[in-house]
């Protein structure tokens, strides 16, 4: 693949240099760069690439047996409203119900060291799910969030096959109860959206990171990868972090420390 990789640490100098070549109509691009959304109001202009949302997971703080992030995600996005189809095997349902975050436990067999981490959509810069989607339903929003346009999704599940993180789920049955902020219907694929309804309302937070903080673990930091003064970039600068399957060169928005 011959993608031009967008550097996470894209500096002001680089940005100005690039913008000058693009268009003279871009009025003082530096002025708007890294400006935090000032007021918490619903947006009226489409999202732009001024932000790229990301998440840092500190695996050393992720507690064994804690499911606060998963539970918060379930409630926030209506995943707890799914019900087991009548007569379905319990184990089968556990595997098939839509989950946006999976708690994964890794054990180093040599040392016995155990690491816990939440694994969700990594919001790649070059998402394989988008590459393979035959209808264009799987897409990356301008602000880096990888989403599914369910109006266009035909439920072929190629993206589920393509995702190296097993982050996508398929809705097999009609869901009776839906939340206004999280529509959900039979025959579509879905995954973590970084609580996009919150972001669009001007609130930079996710349910999982909030729940983790409330639980006292502080293992999740959500923020803007393009804001060098923001909490996420500051946390990233302080400790070495990794992408899962860094070798694939996807430039994920979710990073892990302590792996």
């Amino acid at each position: 693949m011959n993608h031009e990789t967008e550097s996470m640490n894209q500096g002001r100098r680089d940005f100005l240099g690039a913008a000058a070549g693009v268009s003279a109509a871009a009025v003082a691009p530096g002025m708007f760069l890294h400006t935090p959304v000032a007021n918490a109001a619903a947006r009226t202009e489409p999202v732009t690439d001024m932000h790229r949302w990301g998440l840092l997971v500190d695996t050393s703080k992720c507690a064994d047996g804690c499911t606060a992030c998963v539970d918060a995600c379930d409630t926030e996005n209506g995943l707890n409203l799914q019900s087991k189809p009548l007569g379905d095997d319990k184990l089968k349902w556990q595997n098939q119900r839509s989950t946006w975050i999976r708690k994964v436990k890794l054990q180093d067999n040599l040392t016995g060291n155990v690491t816990n981490l939440p694994l969700m959509c990594q919001h790649c810069e070059h998402p394989p799910c988008v590459d393979v989607c035959p209808t264009g339903a799987s897409f990356k929003r301008a602000d880096g969030i990888v989403m599914v346009d369910r109006h266009t999704c035909i439920g072929c599940r190629y993206c589920m096959m393509a995702c190296p993180y097993k982050a996508r789920s398929f809705i097999h049955e009609q869901v009776d109860q839906k939340l206004t902020r999280a529509p959900r219907g039979k025959g579509c694929v879905e995954s973590c959206t970084f609580c996009v309804h919150r972001l669009d309302s001007g609130d930079i937070s996710t349910a999982c990171a909030d729940a983790c903080s409330a639980e006292g673990h502080q293992a999740l930091v959500f923020g803007d990868l393009k804001d060098p003064t923001g909490p996420l970039r500051q946390a990233l600068a302080k400790a070495p972090s990794r992408q899962i399957r860094q070798d694939l060169g996807l430039n994920t928005g979710v990073r892990y420390t302590g792996l």
Binding site: P36, N39, R43, E45, L56, L179, T180, D203, Q218, A219
Partner: protein, 155 residues
């Protein structure tokens, strides 16, 4: 000739049946706004009523792409606005599913014989729309007011 007459009779009987069906459902054709809904107390919809009757789906479909790709929520033309304003309430004040029999969306779509499949996925009662900008404003992690405490990497 006989077949033509047969067809005519059949058509007439069909029209009669259809007409009766309509009378049984609504007193005034085209007026499906429920008295218990918020919409009943308003002068007209987000656009003139006649325009809405003919073009509401265009507005919703346009807004749908704005919302999905542009993140523009809370616009007048979104489907959540339709539901929250047009949903009817029962005696106990609980919202009734808008795609239910006799409810606003369903009754008109039935009359027009147009399939209504928005609500295969979308919420039929206004629930879980609580994450609006008022809630966001009251929320702890406000943008601009970023946490002053140490981040996870600092601890």
């Amino acid at each position: 000739m006989a077949t033509v007459m047969m067809k005519g009779v059949l058509l007439a009987s069909l029209v009669a049946t259809f007409g009766m069906g309509v009378v049984a459902q609504a007193e005034e054709v085209g007026d499906y706004v429920l008295p218990s809904s918020k919409a009943a107390s308003l002068e007209n919809c987000v656009e003139p009523t006649e325009y809405m009757r003919r073009n509401h789906f265009e507005l919703i479909r346009h807004q749908r792409d704005q919302t999905v790709y542009g993140g523009i929520r809370g616009s007048d033309h979104g489907i959540s606005g339709c539901v929250s304003c047009h949903v009817g309430y029962d005696d106990k004040g609980a919202p009734v599913e808008i795609d239910g029999k006799g409810q606003f969306c369903q009754s008109c779509h039935e009359y027009a014989a147009v399939e209504l499949n928005c609500f295969d996925c979308h919420a039929t009662v206004p629930t879980g729309e609580a994450w609006n900008h008022e809630v966001a404003a009251a929320h702890a992690h406000l943008p601009g007011a970023a946490k002053t405490g140490p981040t996870s990497a600092e601890r």
